[in-house]
Symmetry: D4
């Protein structure tokens, strides 16, 4: 994949100088975030689980969040942590959990603010680039939270290749 | 207005006994919350403002939240505070600000966790009962945030009488 | 304004629309909370333990709390966490502890604000619905804290079926 | 009432030596705390206000707390702050507020953890000695919170002279 | 995968769809940040002031920071707040201070995490777009901190038009 | 040693009535606290260790603290936690650590604010009654911290029987 | 008094090279800190005030602290803030308060962690160099806290010229 | 290298008296800190890793920090913790991790504010004296972070003997 900066560089010298001072980062839009949290809540509700679904941007800040009726409030914090952790690390919280259990990663990583190793968080990627994070919490088991994320991501996967 | 508990009380003696131990509280649904934050973001976007819109339930916990593209992340915290404060106090943050300026309410109230007196937060009511809170942040002025809330509430006012 | 419950029972089109915007949640009363914390403190005191007993509502906010004379202050925080965790998860902290020990639940869940896996916290249910949480702390062992909770709940169990 | 230390001083030399290493502090009991919060909640409820009433011990730690049905959760924090501030300073929060307004006390004092100048907090004294603090929050105005405190204290004043 | 910028410039249907899901944000580079904090510290040192200089990116996260020898550690926090506030609001902290003094902006805005109205913070802009924030703290007066920022920005202003 | 409350009970009926509302708690004096932290720092310094020594009262609040020259600042927090934990639990942090290692006590107890299981904290008792806590931190090993505590306590043990 | 760096500079080239990488900072010793807090508590006790006295080092970390019997625990936090603020700013908290009242310094400076403008904090200087901070809290008025500080400093002033 | 205090001791009696009240501590300069973080970022960038590099002074306060383009913001916190922990303990975080895994050090030590056992933090020493701490975070593995630290330290090792 070519660098976006390439397009910008096709400019004057002055422009090129600016290009060294400024970079450009891709991040997901509210449109995509809304679509994902809506689909995840719907998927979980269809399975009988009342959940919180949260999408954060590339920097880990919340972009959209929905809490189903009867989803307990502690899930707000957990869903955000799952999304944040995934956006920061670039891989699912399930893998972080596995790494910690296997001793590959020290559990001390979990002391990082807004981090968790609970299943149910995945990065959102455009190709290989991380552009956000996605977390769901509230189902009776992280694998069930994860299933709702996967159902939601399936709907947009063609557009994120 | 009659008490809802009245409906429940039409039961056996055993049921009535339970009624003394348990109460029932009305709160807004995710459906309503989504409708409101979507409308508020759309209204502000139409005016050229990139904002965060947040709706909290009766207990002050976030129910739905959306952050427009280019809305800076500090607005996440502020929009939630506006919504939370309004749900707790039962009147707009604009009134709280006025009370503090006039010396009717000590500014010390602002030390309460998750409270703010910045314009742009209103309670959501069903009749006279507070069932949630609504906050918007990010426009260049609290009165502009407030205008987007009012536009959103207008769409549902008939259903909340 | 007529009651929502009426709408559910009878239900015109207009009413049904309102019912989609607002929901109703059952939670315990101060009357029940006071009865429970009083009984738990009395039970523990009778056994020679100075404890803190705390009852939270469905949303996890404290409803009533009592601290026996000579109960050390750290038990305030722990009793609330036990009650809060139970109300959020819907099962006793003893089960959470067992799940973590067995590896069924990652210990990372304990990083959730106000959570603990210490024995001595149980949900308060009306039938199968969680309407609050109950925690006791201060006895020399979580199973002893739990015994005081069970003694207190026994007094009201007929009314919560 | 004489100071307890007087009773201790009437001892042997060995006892006197201990007295130099150890002191004794009077603080209120759970019995008194329960009586006060129960009376304050009842008084406010009778006036139509749903409040939180909190009593802290001499060290500022909560001894008993009750939250009336429909009292919003933010009042939990505020009632504790009122009680805590009063126990620490030894005078009502109303006086602190007046001192700050008059410029006698810098507002910076309000940055102290768990402090507030909102009306509705008073110290609990045995004679002239502070043995606890009492706070109420939730009525529409601090003077109304204060009225419930005064009603509650009136019932026990003869026993605290 | 082709570059998004290409899509914007040329734009097939498929590409346009991606463009709706992903956006691109400009932010400053470490190269620019280092240049700025180095120049600010040098400028202040030349004037005899030991300061902290901090540059944050568009999202408010620290990009580069330097603390001169003998600069007291409290300035670390303050310099970051100045930079963060400026990046979030898009105007200097001096203007925020003026707005608060004039009553145009409620002081409650200062309760936002990582915010301050102390002089010595300015946004970093590329044209009219905010791409970061710049804060200096430690000189005996905010206007002196600000002078070091201005000296540093002067060196790069041609490249940020 | 007899309980002080015995001395109080030898009173008039009026006194007894007061006794039901008010209790008396023994706690250590500044004189004792100073003696202990001075001795602990001296003992550790003699062994070549630069430490922090902290004594808290019965309620867990710091009574006296000293930090030796060259003792790193992180030891301030740790020494207080050791003292606080011991005062709250009534047994040494070494025992808490052993209980956690053996699985008798869940590690979740360590999430309690101001708690630690690091060796080098012991309760201070008058007979069997806990009147404070004592913590030392900074030596290269908790057992070395503990040795300084024991050396200090030895000097006063006759007076605390 | 000459600067210490002068003494270092009289070295070999190798030494000078090191001197560019490493600097040396003067800070007060535990010996001095103990002397000061002991004297301040004694002075206040003699005047009938039960206070907390705290001395911090050049970096703002607590070096020694004593809390008189019957000094309420909130004074622990306040005394440390007074000492910390003075060590950071290099002038008394009384001057900070005056600056804020006069509008010379924005009140926003008080949001800095561990800062206060309450009277009763002064820097400790060796000549003109700040080597620590000194705070007292608990007397009924900051000017009374300050008097105890001044009494303590008087005893050592000849040694700090 | 001789201790600086030696230079001071060669003084008058008056000077010696001061020496008892004041001590001198060596800490690294901004010059050295900048050199180290610049080299570490360059080394990691050369290996294809976008990292944060942070150097703290002897007291654990940040002296210089750089975040490479595309380094995710959570690494800011982690790099500082690695540097802080190393400066406080005087040995690498890798050794702390090993001690915890082996059971030599209780994991409870990780609850200390700003501590971590993640690989990639080392103390900076002048001879045997700790004068700062160095942390890197962001590479896919702590050993890779550590390699960049070592590359940076290699450049200055001759000057820190």
């Amino acid at each position: 994949m070519k660098k976006m900066i390439g397009a910008i560089a096709v400019g004057s010298m002055a422009f090129a100088a600016v290009a060294q001072d400024i970079t450009s980062e891709r991040t997901l839009t509210l449109k995509l975030a809304n679509e994902l949290v809506t689909a995840a809540v719907a998927s979980c509700t269809a399975s009988g689980y009342n959940v919180v679904a949260t999408v954060v941007d590339r920097s880990g800040y919340v972009k959209a969040m929905q809490r189903a009726d009867n989803a307990r409030p502690h899930a707000i914090e957990i869903a955000e942590r799952k999304a944040h952790t995934s956006a920061m690390l670039g891989y699912p919280t399930a893998q972080l959990n596995e790494n910690i259990v296997k001793g590959v990663t020290p559990a001390a990583l979990l002391n990082t603010p807004n981090f968790t190793s609970l299943l149910g968080g995945v990065p959102i990627k455009a190709g290989t680039e991380v552009i956000g994070g996605f977390g769901v919490s509230g189902a009776p088991g992280g694998h069930l939270d994860l299933a709702c994320i996967e159902a939601a991501l399936k709907k947009v996967e063609d557009r994120l290749k």
